[in-house]
């Protein structure tokens, strides 16, 4: 409660940090609905490689995105130790497959550094900034870009 009040005044925000491969990323905690274990997904025909399929989330059909593949890294080979972050993106709910959830961070806006000036699709589509915490580099990503824009319009 006091944290929330503080957040409002100082512009601090809470982020959920997780590991994909050997890199760390984080997303705004407000868009995270729940975190659950990996369950086998039903593959979708004609799906892009990063969409692993759909699972049943208490009666709703939840698409699972392999974040590793989506971010252009090696596609994950899901095991029981993998974790699905259920996140709200616009008015859709998406499951993000990550290696592990590592931390909940409370950071102020000033602590978020601008994305380093490297010209890559990756930087343009996902990264919204980087954080330096305890010698680690954590990349803040924007979930809006997890599903490409054209596709969300079609949906």
């Amino acid at each position: 409660m006091s944290n929330a009040a503080k957040n409002l005044t100082t512009g601090a925000r809470e982020l959920i940090a997780f590991r994909v491969g050997n890199q760390e990323f984080c997303v705004n905690i407000m868009s995270v609905r729940e975190i659950r274990g990996w369950a086998p997904a039903t593959p979708m025909p004609h799906a892009p490689p990063f969409v692993l399929g759909v699972i049943n989330l208490r009666g709703a059909v939840l698409p699972i995105v392999d974040l590793s593949a989506r971010l252009g890294m090696t596609p994950a080979e899901p095991t029981v130790r993998h974790v699905i972050i259920v996140a709200q993106v616009k008015n859709q709910v998406v499951g993000l497959l990550v290696d592990a959830v590592s931390d909940i961070l409370t950071v102020s806006d000033e602590e978020i550094q601008p994305t380093p000036d490297i010209l890559s699709d990756f930087e343009k589509s996902f990264a919204r900034g980087v954080l330096a915490i305890g010698g680690r580099m954590i990349c803040l990503i924007e979930l809006d870009a997890v599903f490409p824009r054209e596709e969300r319009e079609a949906a």
Partner: protein, 762 residues
Amino acid sequence: MDMNEIKEIFFQECEEQLAELETGLLKLNDGDRDPETVNAVFRAVHSIKGGAGAFGLDDLVSFAHVFETTLDCVRSNKLEPNQDVLKVMLRSADVLADLTNAARDGGTVDEARSRQLIKELEALANGESPQAAAAEPAPKAAPVVATMPAPAANDEGFQPVAFSFDDFETEEPAACDLPAYDIVFKPKSDLYSKGNDATLLLRDLSRLGQMSIHCDMDGLPTLDRMNPEAAYFTWKVSLKTDKGEEAIRSVFEFAEWDCDLDVTLAGDTPVATDELPMQPVPFDLSMLDEGAQAPTSAAQDQIAAQERDARDAAVSAAETASNVLQMAQTAARPPAEAGRNATTASSAAQTAAAQQAASAATPTIRVDLDRVDRLINLVGELVINQAMLSQSVIENDTNGTSSINMGLEELQQLTREIQDSVMAIRAQPVKPVFQRMSRIVREIADMTGKSVRLVTEGENTEVDKTVIDKLAEPLTHMIRNAVDHGLETPEKRLAAGKSAEGTVRLTAKHRSGRIVIELADDGAGINREKVRQKAIDNDLIAADANLSDEEIDNLIFHAGFSTADKISDISGRGVGMDVVKRSIQALGGRINISSKPGHGSIFTMSLPLTLAVLDGMVVTVANQTLVVPLTAIVETLQPEASAIHSFGASQRLISIRNSFCPLVDVGRILNFRGIQANPVDGVALLVESEGGGQRALMVDAIQGQRQVVIKSLEANYTHVPGIAAATILGDGRVALILDVDAIVSASRGQSLKPEISLAAAG
């Protein structure tokens, strides 16, 4: 709750009232003369008017008002509700519905039509008894009233005060037999500063008897000298009551010190009204007199304000309220005196009546469909979870009689019952849709000059709300067709030895887990020669084609097919029976025609009870579990090597009873595997697509047949070509439901690729 929400509720109520209104009118049309029916109709219009007033929907109020006045004449037996009268009333009900819709959606209405109906209604109200419109209803057989003389003519210029306290005045004896009082009521500014309101006092006063009121504005200074906190008006009231002076004074009990009050007995002659000419003072009169024949537009705002105050539970259940009130008053009041008692009794009775009205209201609640859907979702999950739990207990428990097993069994029973009950929440009778159809029939009959009777049967047959919503459109079109094309003109009917009035029969019933809706007309039937000729002209069939009667009848479902010679208002809108067929099929339904020349046609639609559940064939394709809608499957067969024929480079055909049908490998077309599977290893599902083409879908194995709950893929993902939706299997995994039509068209060479490439970005 903000204003818009309240308004939304009002419109929902309006819908119910309009349905009630139409039901009542149709009952009257069938010869029902039960006073309760008339009252129900009156109440419906009155409630709409009351609500509309509160929201300042002037058009609606003024139309409802005229309508109400005419209905009142029926209620008081001044107007015989014969066919002609009811015709006008039914059309008025339609206009009222239009006005309501226009008020909700901001659309426009046919003003000429509503003006015309206002005229007709007024003519009806005035036709049989000129004062009918102004008179309040003759009461039903209530104990007090039965002994009272009939209401007197309104020659003194009195108008009974009608606003929302409906029937209070019906208990009053006729005006001419009662002592009349002249009351001069001059509020001081203190009255207002203490929070009293002259209007409320006058309204209380009006409950005592027949009242005429005049506002003396002589004391009103010019604007520059006006003190906004001062009181300038004097009211001169002429009241006929048997309740005595004391009752009158008791009305002003709490305002006694803050006003000048003068109450005098005027004697038998209605001097008061002579002295106080009825000059239109809309500010005041209208507030108390919604019975005025032609409220000025300024007055309407006041009516609105008044109704807002007065609209409570007692209004909507005016009948109950007034009965209780009458009983209470009879008990409490010795005939000659004790007005004060009557007043207290009446307020007590009013409270009682309001309570009773509240409890007498139909015990229903309004719920968002979303909430119900969520519940259905969760219960579906519960069922799946329960099945999983049972499974794991059976696997782990060797002792079959353990209490866990018994508990599980009970749980299973409970979940099933919960599921049934939850599904029943969405089930609704088809009545509202059927009722809408009676309006369509009326309109088309008017336009075509035909005389048509709509008979509905089984309108209480229940079906899922989602189905009902989607039923209206195809049904409307079919009804239009039945009246426009199906029925002959009255002359032709008479010549054919039939009655001039055609009958359209709309029937709903349950049959083996589906709802069957039948639309039958007793018209000329399908002119097969004409249909055939038309089909030949349109190159649908060869000139020498040999078609059965049934095949010819089914030709009318082809796109762009109309047998009407000329394009009328009703037909030729570019919506043919093909659209009807498509929308029925989209609902998972089927439609059939049977027609007898000279005797009419019957269209039979068979629809699923719900869109949430689908009968499916669970199949395995490339290690994936898929569901194929059962409605699409014609038959299943085990292909033999000798029946498979290669056709060109990649196509394969299967011979079924000497005809060749293309084979479609579902696993290949959905990209689940790279090469085509050997058909001999699998099972072929012979399917028929919307376009009529047959295909043999190859799947690896059939797991079984079961009902599945349909889940949307689009909600969180996107539309996937070839996949209609998803479902959740007993083991909790998602299975995809095949879109057979898309698969069939894809096999014709159309692409089954996503419209946009998901892989493009990233």
